[in-house]
């Protein structure tokens, strides 16, 4: 188990320079995510155009894994439809939690960089927080906690 597997270059880059790290004041959907174990707090904002996600962003603070994961999330779901986002959420959940998951890694693009997290069970919640928060936002729940 190598640390470089967890902190891959893409992760380090997205932590240092998070993409779509801003608020969307007129967001159609938003939810707050909280990881009480490490104090990660983030808010996900979604702007919809019909059933298409026209803009998505996040704010808050957290560890490198949670910030990079949220940053990668925003890049990967912008422009997708709600069912596509839902499908991606399920795939990410499998990628992060199931050892024997059959996942088409190339189809995940940069998100595949998070596959190393699975080897660090204590950190899975950091990577999945933004996805649960997005899911809560899309299902119009206001708050989610990964405890």
């Amino acid at each position: 188990m190598d640390l470089k597997d967890l902190y891959r270059d893409i992760i380090v880059d997205h932590n240092r320079h998070p993409r779509n790290f801003r608020e969307i004041p007129d967001a159609d959907r938003r939810a707050d995510g909280f990881n009480p174990l490490c104090g990660d707090k983030l808010t996900v904002f979604v702007k919809l155009d019909g059933d298409r996600i026209s803009d998505v962003s996040f704010s808050g603070s957290g560890c490198a894994i949670s910030v990079a994961s949220a940053s990668l999330l925003t890049e990967s779901i912008k422009g997708r439809t709600l069912p596509e986002a839902e499908a991606l959420f399920k795939q990410m959940h499998q990628l992060l939690t199931q050892e024997d998951a059959v996942i088409d890694l190339p189809s995940l693009g940069k998100l595949g960089a998070l596959s190393g997290v699975r080897e660090f069970p204590a950190r899975v919640k950091c990577a999945s927080l933004c996805w649960h928060t997005l899911d809560a936002a899309l299902h119009q729940q206001q708050q989610v906690s990964t405890e």
Binding site: M1, L6, G39, G62, A122
Partner: protein, 417 residues
């Protein structure tokens, strides 16, 4: 020969090499590296003497206590009550009637809240705590306030992480019914000069509970000299087993308090018309107690006393001074909590590296520290931090382990800074 046998002979500093041989877990590796266990404020490790005392009890002496006339029941009772006497002597209580076995500090505080507080407090009454408290010395009082209509008051802290004495004194009033204070802060390591706080409370006739979870393992505690009314601590932070701790209570207060849990062992006579409660300390110990754990705690006390609490405190202070020196050389490292008097706890942050990432990177080098809010979220809020990294030392730690911590912090800076 164990370190205890070697040291019991005479004065001089502790021989850490010999001591480490007494702790089997310190020999293991983590992720291919030797373990550097620097998370002692969360839970310490156990010497073989404690593990053996518990095994021996289960292999040779187990039966239920206070019940049977048969041999083993008497033997188990003698061992269990012998452990209570060791605790009494260790903290210098007047009587074993004042030593209540509980699951840990948390349960001890809940006991006081639900037995003492619930019958004594009402609307308008106040409980005074500090901003430094562990959640275990906050939440039981909040629950009590909801039940009784009492109010929780909080004495502020200073930037260095000390409880502001003047502000504390100003919050004491005729409405204050109890002061509940940490003896040593778990998140920052601050040693609170409790004598001063107790004297101020006593001047107004206010009883004082001390949360001693972080103090008892690292310094000589004398409840009579402190003149506190309740003192709570946990076995697992002082080289004893998990699942047991102690509530010390002043006998006059305990005698007047109702039981908080009912069941076997806490009664003298039961009928459907009337139950007569047992005397102290059994009134507060319903059901079969954690017998092996109490015996293990007794063995831990024997071990600590043989090393000497003064020598333990001196060894840990030396580690603290060394860690402060070494950590201060790391660019971007900020100490959180800089009180002049501290237990061997260093809380810190590192620029651009979240404490949780630090925890993982250090772990990959075999260095175990705590990262997070340390069950003291108000302290984190005070400093405007979501979390800190916390290294906490015990007498079995070495300078080499601190060097490993420092090296791993440099690695973290290179990776993520």
């Amino acid at each position: 020969m164990s370190a205890v046998e070697a040291f019991a002979r005479g004065p001089g500093p502790l021989d850490v090499t010999a001591i480490r041989r007494d702790f089997p877990i310190l020999e293991r590796t983590v992720r291919g590296n030797p373990l550097s266990y620097l998370d002692n404020a969360a839970s310490s490790q156990r010497p073989r003497a404690v593990i053996d005392a518990m095994s021996r009890y289960y292999e040779q002496s187990h039966a239920n206590v206070h019940r049977g006339v048969h041999w083993l029941s008497q033997e188990a009772t003698d061992l269990f009550e012998g452990a209570r006497e060791k605790v009494r002597r260790f903290i210098n209580a007047r009587s074993t009637k004042e030593i209540i076995f509980v699951r840990g500090t948390t349960e001890a505080i809940n006991l006081v809240a639900q037995s003492y507080g619930r019958t004594q407090f009402g609307p308008g009454d106040e409980i005074l705590v500090s901003w430094l408290e562990h959640h275990a010395n906050i939440v039981p009082w909040q629950m009590l306030c909801q039940q009784t209509g009492a109010t929780l008051k909080v004495a502020p802290i200073t930037q260095s992480g000390e409880v502001d004495f003047d502000a504390f004194a100003a919050l004491l009033s005729a409405r204050t019914k109890l002061v509940a204070l940490a003896h040593v802060s778990n998140a920052l390591g601050t040693v609170i000069p409790v004598h001063r706080f107790i004297a101020a409370a006593k001047a107004r006739g206010v009883p004082v509970l001390l949360d001693g979870a972080q103090a008892v393992p690292h310094m000589k505690v004398d409840v009579q000299a402190l003149d506190c009314d309740f003192y709570a601590f946990s076995s697992h932070k002082m080289c004893g087993p998990t699942g047991i701790g102690v509530l010390y209570g002043r006998e006059s207060l305990l005698a007047a308090m109702p039981p908080w849990q009912g069941g076997g062992d806490m009664i003298l006579a039961v009928s459907f018309e009337k139950t007569v409660y047992n005397s102290l300390p059994y009134k507060f110990e319903a059901g079969t107690p954690a017998i092996a754990e109490a015996i293990g705690l007794g063995a831990a006390i024997d071990y600590l006393e043989a090393l000497g609490m003064e020598r333990i405190a001196a060894a840990e202070h030396e580690l603290l001074v060394y860690a402060n020196e070494r950590l201060a050389t790391i660019p971007g490292l900020r100490f959180v909590g800089t009180a002049p008097e501290k237990a061997a706890v260093v809380s810190f942050t590192l620029d651009k590296v979240h404490p949780h990432d630090l925890g993982t990177i250090l772990d990959s080098e075999g260095v175990a520290i705590r990262t997070g809010h340390h069950c003291a979220m108000p302290v984190m809020d005070f400093y405007g931090l979501p979390a800190t990294a916390r290294a906490s030392f015990a007498f079995y730690n070495t300078r080499a382990e601190i060097d490993r911590l420092v090296e791993a912090l440099h690695t973290a800076r290179e990776m993520l800074g």
